[in-house]
Structure formats: structure tokens, C-alpha cells
Symmetry: C2
Subunit: 111 residues, 2 copies
């Protein structure tokens, strides 16, 4: 008699088949948030309700200008911030609707 799948039926009722919830859409969002510098940039933008000049963001960190620009691009591509050019300067502001998706994920996992 072939025993095939050896066991794994004694530990849990094999009925349910466990369909997972749709979490994939939140992966890029979480990846964008998974960095100390980027989270702090968002914290700055949240504190200052309006916009923030890129130079002011740079001045807040001990990081090079290209590095900050890199992080701002990732936040932009994730939709978490938007940039508005005004002459030479670039003003960044928080995109609250995308931040709200954090609440959706919380509800998806906790409710």
C-alpha cells in the first residue's frame, strides 16, 4: 500500500484548504515604507501639513543629495508623495489617499 503523502493530515483538518486574502497589492506599498529614511521623510511631510521643499528634506538628514533624491523617487513611484516643480525648486507633499491604504491592510489582516 503506498502511503503517498505521509501524514500532514493529523495536525490539522485538511478540509479548509486555506484560501489566503488578497495581500499582494500591498507589497509595493510596504516595500516603500520599509526604510528608516523614507518613513522619516513621510513623518516630516505629515508634521508640516502642506508641502516641503526638497532642499529642506535634504537638510534634515546626514545623507548625500543623490541618496535623498533616490528615496524621494521611490516614494513618488509608490504614490505616497507627489512633486510639484516651481521654478528651480521641487515641492513634495503627502498623498493621503495612499497612506489610507495602510488602514485597508490593517483591516484585511485584523478583522
Amino acid at each position: 500500500m503506498p502511503k503517498a503523502k505521509p501524514a500532514a493530515d493529523d495536525c490539522c483538518t485538511p478540509t479548509a484548504k486555506v484560501r489566503s486574502r488578497a495581500t499582494r497589492p500591498y507589497v509595493p506599498l510596504c516595500k516603500a515604507l520599509a526604510d528608516e529614511t523614507r518613513l522619516e521623510i513621510l513623518g516630516m511631510l505629515a508634521e508640516r501639513a502642506g508641502m516641503l521643499c526638497a532642499c529642506e528634506i535634504e537638510a534634515h538628514f546626514d545623507l548625500s543629495q543623490p541618496t535623498i533624491s533616490h528615496h524621494l523617487r521611490i516614494l513618488r513611484e509608490a504614490g505616497l508623495v507627489s512633486a510639484e516643480r516651481r521654478g528651480t525648486w521641487n515641492y513634495y507633499s503627502l498623498e493621503r489617499p495612499v497612506v489610507e491604504r495602510l488602514g485597508e491592510l490593517r483591516a484585511l489582516l485584523a478583522d
Copy 2:
């Protein structure tokens, strides 16, 4: 006359000094969530309200057993799940209070 800090005073009112909000505590949480496999494990645990046997989690993915074990460890260290040994088997369950911290982060950034 030294011009020191060249400009950066024409683009934004230099008064505010922009104190960022305390986002650092959420960095480990976001790092733990920033992976498709781990997010889907949490989705499985959310769907099935109770616990889930480790073997059932492994069966859900096309990944090796050590890889799933590795992800489960990261989720455990982040406090997102807890494990309970029952004989040979290991049952994982979701730690909702930690998931709730996603709501805190959302409020910190969006309110």
C-alpha cells in the same frame, strides 16, 4: 563676506525647522511586511481565524521548507505571529495587537 549656506531660504520659510514625527518604531514592522510571501502568510492566518499548522503553510507555497521557516521566524521576531508547539507540530496564530500598529502608523502619517 562668507555666504555660508548659499540659499535654501528663498524656497521655503526657514522658521519651522520641521520636526518629524516618531516613525522609527515602525521600521521593523514595515520591514517584516515588505515581502510577498510573508504578507500572504499573514493573509492565510487572517482568513483562518484560529491557528494554522506550519505544514499547512508550507503546502501553500512553491518554496522550500527552510525558506518558509525563515519567513515565519521573521514574522515571529516582529511580533506579528506567535507559535505554539503541540507535540511534533507547530501552530502559528496572528497577533492582532501588532497588526493594529499599522493603524497607528496610518494615523501618524495621515491625520
